[in-house]
């Protein structure tokens, strides 16, 4: 089974803090890390390879230093790593990113399954996965919690929906985006790190891909951010006081006021 895992380097947003004076994000010393959802995608790919054979290729589009992520993925057990890096990829929105990733996957040849994290925690759009599936002309499923069965040419999986869970049979090749519930990622081993140091990371630039330059990077991005601002976060909360039943009554009154419906037991 040929599996591709798309991963992304994101700021470790636990550190995101606002400068109270200038009201901008303090970025100094912000570490970059593997997008948490992508670790589950990689782990699932490794488990599928262990069960069914094949290879796991990890791929990321980013600045040259994103290679560190790929090393980590190799240390966890990925077979091959590809870094898509080029100034011409910069400024890409989700559509241009999906176009670039699709061109890279085409270059790889036969692929049975593409796994992505459900969303990246910096943009939170959850768009690149389905956009990529469309570009490749293959089916997709989002928020997958379990891959149950893999047979020739198809798999069954369970995914989260608003109303609960759905079980699906999906024809391969397909793209799945996964969530935390699916597994617990392994840690890279020391031997893995040693092996990863010796492995090559393939570096692909725009010229290495069959892609129209007008469809990648900033130029290929239909959306543009025209303004950013810091939302008003700090509210002055109203303190509820009194005996426990009095507090409970105040909470119920607020619930009724905010929702416009009667609260009954």
């Amino acid at each position: 089974m040929e599996i591709v895992v798309c991963i992304k380097q994101v700021p470790a947003t636990t550190r995101v803090q606002l400068d109270p004076r200038t009201r901008t994000i303090i970025r100094e010393g912000v570490e970059l890390m593997l997008n948490p959802f992508d670790a589950y995608a990689l782990e699932e790919a490794l488990r599928l390879r262990e069960a069914h054979g094949g290879t796991v290729t990890v791929m990321t589009m980013g600045i040259p230093s994103a290679a560190i992520l790929l090393r980590e993925a190799l240390a966890m057990g990925a077979d091959q790593a590809i870094l898509l890096t080029d100034r011409r990829f910069a400024g890409a929105d989700t559509l241009a990113t999906a176009t670039t990733l699709a061109a890279a996957i085409h270059k790889l040849g036969t692929v049975d399954l593409i796994l992505c994290g459900r969303q990246a925690i910096d943009g939170d759009t959850a768009q690149v996965g389905p956009e990529l599936a469309e570009k490749l002309g293959i089916p997709h499923a989002t928020a997958v919690t379990k891959i149950e069965e893999v047979n020739t040419g198809m798999l069954t999986c369970q995914k989260m929906i608003d109303e609960g869970y759905a079980r699906l049979k999906v024809q391969l090749p397909a793209l799945l985006t996964v969530v935390k519930e699916i597994n617990t990622p392994r840690f890279p081993t020391l031997a893995g790190f040693r092996r990863a140091q010796k492995s090559d990371i393939l570096i692909w630039k725009a010229d290495d891909l069959e892609v129209d330059l007008g469809h990648i990077g900033l130029e290929g991005s239909p959306t543009q951010v025209i303004a950013t601002f810091v939302p008003e976060h700090h509210k002055t909360s109203h303190l509820l006081e009194g005996t426990l039943p009095e507090i409970a009554q105040q909470i119920l009154a607020s619930l009724q006021k905010q929702t416009g419906r009667e609260m009954h037991g």
């Binding site: 608003d162 699906l168 935390k180």
Partner: protein, 400 residues
């Protein structure tokens, strides 16, 4: 391609551009600002420089399709009814239509949904476009995008809004990708600029720490998803009439995705993403033994039950309950937080504008900085009092 540069003769090394960059891409080399490869050409630094030392050259724009007209709303239908977010989006579309003068059109797929389309007029649609195929009675992540993209190509709307349900968030990117157009996820504000006629789409980024306003200048439709409860529906007017158009789409004969089974949640774990009231529990509830109390409360209030990451990691509740950066995002009208400290990662999962009532015994808990009402007390007795108050009320009414 786009290019950006700092003009060394104009840069005085004032460092004003450094904090303006949301990507941390600017640093100082000596007394000159230098822009690294982390730059995505967003242009935030350009107005921050008082000396016009940063030059940004953007690629030439393609002209938008001037024929595109109409504000579309996808009417998601499940288990015999339209999702509430459909009505909210129709209300928002009406508001946008008031400034653009364009018609509001609801898109209905499936034979069953086609039987109740009149509701969409009542909630603000001028026109309803229906594809009454039984094949589309079940939501399908492949067939729906295909059908909706074909309709958009045939009728060329200017704006296409899709509810940010799990299904909407799955199909919207596929449609945008097929149409080669822009899509903005989870918008919290939509406005039509009176001068340019463009849709200004505002959404949170960086875990809600920053709001970004996004445009799709040159491609149509301008697509956006909006979470449930973010927009206001109109008061339905069931005497209101609009137009009805039956449309055709071409679907493939073979189905690449097949739904085998659905397991729907019971009321105690009511759909979190569409719940009007959500009760959140954090490690502050003390032990999993306290959970039945909150499950009962959720049932009594017809509310969803959410958890912090800590509660899920401890195994007290399954992952489907986790709200926050690595869980799901919810947009209830009211969030009732018990024993939740309010880490940034958890708050990132709460839509802007949610009314927060927080109970925590730590008066310095960060949740109180974002709460509308606060109770500084141990959360168990407060929860017990609330539950007994809820149970008491109807009895009183029955006696009366």
């Amino acid at each position: 391609m786009a290019e950006i540069q700092v003009l060394p003769e104009k840069c005085i090394g004032c460092r004003k551009c450094l904090p303006a960059c949301p990507y941390g891409a600017i640093s100082m080399q000596g007394r000159i600002a230098v822009i690294s490869e982390a730059c995505v050409f967003c242009g935030a630094c350009v107005p921050a420089c008082r000396y016009e030392a940063i030059e940004l050259r953007l690629p030439q724009a393609i002209q938008p399709n001037s024929q595109a007209r109409g504000i579309w709303v996808f009417a998601e239908f499940f288990a015999g009814q339209f999702k509430q977010v459909t009505f909210e989006l129709l209300g928002e579309a009406r508001r946008l239509a008031a400034s653009s003068g364009e018609p509001v059109c609801a898109i209905v797929l499936g034979e069953r949904a086609a039987q109740v389309y009149q509701q969409l007029w009542a909630y603000g649609a001028d026109a309803v476009l229906v594809v009454p195929l039984a094949e589309l009675d079940q939501r399908d992540e492949l067939l729906y995008p295909l059908a909706l993209a074909q309709l958009a190509q045939a009728y060329q709307p200017s704006i296409f809004l899709i509810g940010g349900t799990a299904f909407g968030r799955s199909i919207a990117p596929r449609i945008a990708s097929r149409l080669e157009t822009g899509l903005t996820a989870d918008c919290t504000r939509l406005e039509i600029d009176t001068q340019s006629g463009l849709l200004h789409q505002t959404r949170p980024a960086f875990g809600g720490n920053l709001m970004a306003t996004i445009l799709c200048r040159n491609r149509r439709p301008q697509m956006a998803t909006v979470r449930p409860h973010v927009m206001q529906p109109l008061v339905p007017d069931f005497s209101r009439r609009g137009s009805l158009t039956l449309a055709e789409v071409h679907l493939p004969g073979n189905h690449l995705i097949q739904q085998l089974a659905l397991s729907l949640t019971t009321s105690e774990t009511l759909s979190l993403e569409s719940a009007e009231v959500v009760i959140g529990v954090g490690r502050g509830i003390g032990s999993p033994r306290a959970l039945p109390l909150f499950q009962n409360m959720a049932q009594a209030l017809n509310a969803g039950l959410a958890a912090s990451r800590a509660v899920v990691d401890l195994g007290w509740l399954p992952y489907a309950h986790q709200v926050g950066q690595t869980g799901i995002t919810i947009s209830p009208k009211v969030y009732l937080a018990f024993g939740i400290s309010g880490a940034v990662q958890h708050l990132a999962g709460l839509a802007e504008g949610t009314y927060i009532i927080a109970v925590n015994k730590d008066p310095h808990a960060p949740i109180f900085q974002v709460a509308d009402e606060r109770v500084v007390a141990d959360c168990i007795p407060v929860a017990e009092a609330l539950l007994s108050e809820l149970k008491r009320k109807p009895k009183v009414e029955r006696i009366a």
